[in-house]
Symmetry: C2
Subunit: 250 residues, 2 copies
Amino acid sequence: MHFIDETTSNGVIERSFQLGDVTGVLWSPQTDADNRPLVLMGHGGGLHKRFPGLVARGLHYVTECDFHVAAIDAPGHGDRPRNAEDKNWVAELRGAREAGKPIDTVVATYNASLAERAVPEWRATLDALQAIPGFGTGPVGYTGMTLATTIGIPLAAAEPRITAAIFGGAMAFDALLESARRVTIPIQFLLPWDDAEISREAGLQLYDAFASAEKTLHANPGDHRHVPWFETEDSLRFLRRHLRPAVAAE
Amino acid sequence: MHFIDETTSNGVIERSFQLGDVTGVLWSPQTDADNRPLVLMGHGGGLHKRFPGLVARGLHYVTECDFHVAAIDAPGHGDRPRNAEDKNWVAELRGAREAGKPIDTVVATYNASLAERAVPEWRATLDALQAIPGFGTGPVGYTGMTLATTIGIPLAAAEPRITAAIFGGAMAFDALLESARRVTIPIQFLLPWDDAEISREAGLQLYDAFASAEKTLHANPGDHRHVPWFETEDSLRFLRRHLRPAVAAE
């Protein structure tokens, strides 16, 4: 893992990094402590690791909870070039949207391919982060909706270091449902109740599939672009409860 | 309103009251202040105003938020005698349960009748509480699942003093859905994901029916008897946000 730059503001250290092809950012509290909890944050399709909504939530987690927060660009997103196949899917997706046709199939195929590549990238990122001197091996959470859920579910199924996750607003397809059935960690699932592109039923089906004993579904009116801020506060409480139980109980 | 007794423990004043036929209990913080928020708490079918789960939540609201909390027995519940018609419904309900037959229709009919009687009782109780010297007319919330939701939805549709409510786990029938469509206040809705007697679909249908701009659905595994305690904490935050916004923002 190679750090490209480091800046500090409002008590948060921001470091851009590169790990092989993967471009990422790490936000950390300025105060020293080993084995802090780490939250991995994914971004939605067509977005990137510094999408304003992600940055706002990430900085909130660092300043409120002293978590580390790491975000990486998905394959072909942000600072990473798109390969020929991805370009075809994006063109197909745009074509379907413009023609007012359903996008489910192309999104499912495209996102499944992105997830297959992103899962090992996240695991390598986690290895590299925990190898930073003084970083330690604290509890790890994951959060992200839409594409970040399509990536996060197989990641959580494969990666035992992740012990709590927030997902939501994703299309349900067989491989994803199959991964969800292997997830046993506590889950908070955000369901946009009125999303033109992601059906309510898909969200309910995904939530139902998790094998977790603790799983909570939070539905709110609107689409996945309009999750109310009180859900961010609640996500933080969920993560604190599972990643820093001693502090949450105070 | 006639107070029957008054005891104080752990900083909470408990007063049993009678208002006409209605038997109730009021929990208040020991510290003085006019116009405190008041939370009305309903109980489930076959239970009563001092059901342990209700008492635990009610005392928690008083001690954590300095709310008043009032609970009354539904018609034919707790300290109130059952009339002949109610006795028939209860016998029918027990018979259906023992025979392993669906209970939806009898519960819907019985609960609709209880709601029709309970709504004016709650409104009269609210009038009487607000007439207590020094009680004032602070914001009013309502909370309760199953029967308490069947009563609470038409109550919230009829009573403008109620400005936030927590409902959940109830059967959906036409009159109840009709009332829900007239509810516009912020709602938190608790959906037991695996309830043998109350279908998931009924909960989703009720949640969908509310006209409220802010309405959040919280689903959790298990039945309506096993709502996790973190939902009580979250209910409290919801009520604080809407009934004591100045404090919630601190």
